[in-house]
Symmetry: none
Subunit: 173 residues, 4 copies
DNA sequence: GATGAATGAGTTTTCATTCAT
DNA sequence: AATGAATGAAAACTCATTCAT
């Protein structure tokens, strides 16, 4: 990726996350990135291609996040780490996650693949802890994580520490 | 509201929910509603006005949902009812909620007012049950509800019963 | 067709014929027709649709031209009339024919249907005159007609009368 | 001409002939030729220059075709040879002729120079055969040739042999 | 000679909105 | 109230051409 390509991707990510994919014109992106509009199409074929480039670039970082979970053995530690995921989204990753969550609501874009690796780690953890329905417990955590992500990304929850504690308590962590 | 007005509102709601507000053109709405494009603007002034009409029509039904909570006295019952809210979204209301959740991610539209009445009922309930941090507990529930809404509206969760049970257990309900 | 629609069609026909379909922008057409560019797309869906509208409008007039041939009985008269067709293209029809001939050379547009009704009249005529290979004679006439059309539409052949006579002589007309 | 230059010219010729000059972008040409887009401009200055290169390269081969006619003395043989010209277009020359004929219809490109050497040979031939209007006869042949070229280049005439015979008969050849 | 990134002007197309009827 | 023709501005995308390397 050339410097300008990266500039396009990062500008687009910021704008798509802030104003939505559909409401952000390619000309806004070009202006923000300080390049000609044509360059976007030369590098990414079309607006959709630009979105895909953003998405797959993000996926890599996400996979990296998840991979660190695989080495953890203690089931309680696994669950704690997963619950803490939304709280540990770094400032420069927020735009990516905002975009991803916003896109969920757009028909035909919904993509659940991200939850699969989490489930693969969670279910065994609940099994080890002898929960009666490990699959349902894993689903519940995923649901909780979605809620936490909304809170972290859209609101700036004041009592974030207290909330985290309250949730961890429910799982005796 | 005349019959045609209602047709416009319901068609717009369906389309906005499915494809997003920004990606739905007024001409698509007109076609779906079987009316002329001009009529939308005669009745709702502009696209934004149409959205507002949809939103305030929905708000009425939402207020109604909440009002039934006020009469409940038993704190455990209050909490249970609130957790069950997302599961009780009726099929014909789903489009409205999808639209509302999708709009959350659109900059400058985020609106937290809906959570206020819930908090006003939840905090006293947790106080009565002697939870150590009732405000944080209330926040946690709101977060959970957002997660549940995503699940109910976007996925077709098979084990929805088991999930609900797992969550209620956390609150000893 | 409204007045503006017809204005668009006639302007487009003139420009497409003069400068070629691909080299004529819709904005040129709009300017020439004195309408907004958007109107072209509202009425004809896209540039291709505008072309089709021009073509099918032209086809009607052409069919009319051909229908008058069907009532002729004398085979010699049939042949003479057909040979004279290119010479009888009226000034206001020239643009249509220029466009049609130009499009022939564009891959995937070539369309031979126009020659079918001519063949259906020509072959029987040559049969009646006891030509040894009526089908080949009909084809030869069609070929000649294409050549004549090129001459009439692109050049202003000086000795047009003499040329016509020379050709008719070949068929003893 | 370097190898790459020739690759550009031959690719451009094929594409211009198949899809038209205006509808063929320089980037398509570059891709087809397997060279960078910039190279086209380094070698041919601009798109128009590329076209001219194709055209003048073709002209050479055409002149060669005509030159062989000059040595023929028998007037009947001259006429026969000229009528046979369109049938003798070799497969690898068809693209060039298609391009040339397509360009005729593009305003301000029409170029009649090619017909001049033919006329210079044909008129004397008809004079020798005592035709009453040799100039008109020559024109008729040119017109016929245009028609034959359309047939040979655009259609795949099955009965081409029969057609050729039918035409030669008209000139008692 | 050759590449490919980059541009700017233009092209096709969409869309919210207005207006005469 | 209702239509549908019409618009102007902006959107997505294309393309011939330039230029640094």
């Amino acid at each position: 990726m050339t410097e300008k390509q990266e500039k396009i991707v990062s500008s687009a990510l910021r704008l798509f996350a802030e104003q939505g994919y559909a409401s952000t014109s390619t000309s806004k992106v070009a202006k923000e990135a300080g390049v000609s509009e044509g360059l976007i199409f030369r590098h990414f074929k079309n607006k959709e291609g630009l979105l895909q480039a953003i998405l797959s670039q993000g996926q890599e970082k996400v996979s990296h996040m998840f991979r660190s979970l695989e080495s953890v053995n203690d089931p309680k530690e696994v669950i704690r780490r997963i619950i803490e995921l939304p709280f540990s989204i770094e400032e420069d990753q927020k735009a990516f996650w905002k975009l991803l969550y916003a896109l969920k609501w757009q028909a035909n874009v919904y993509d659940d693949t991200m939850s699969i690796p989490i489930k693969q780690v969670l279910v065994p953890a609940f099994e080890k802890l002898n929960y009666s329905n490990p699959a349902a417990e894993a689903e519940s955590i995923l649901i909780l994580i979605d809620g936490l992500a909304v809170a972290v990304l859209l609101r700036k929850p004041e009592q974030i520490g207290a909330i985290k504690q309250s949730i961890l308590n429910k799982y005796h962590l």
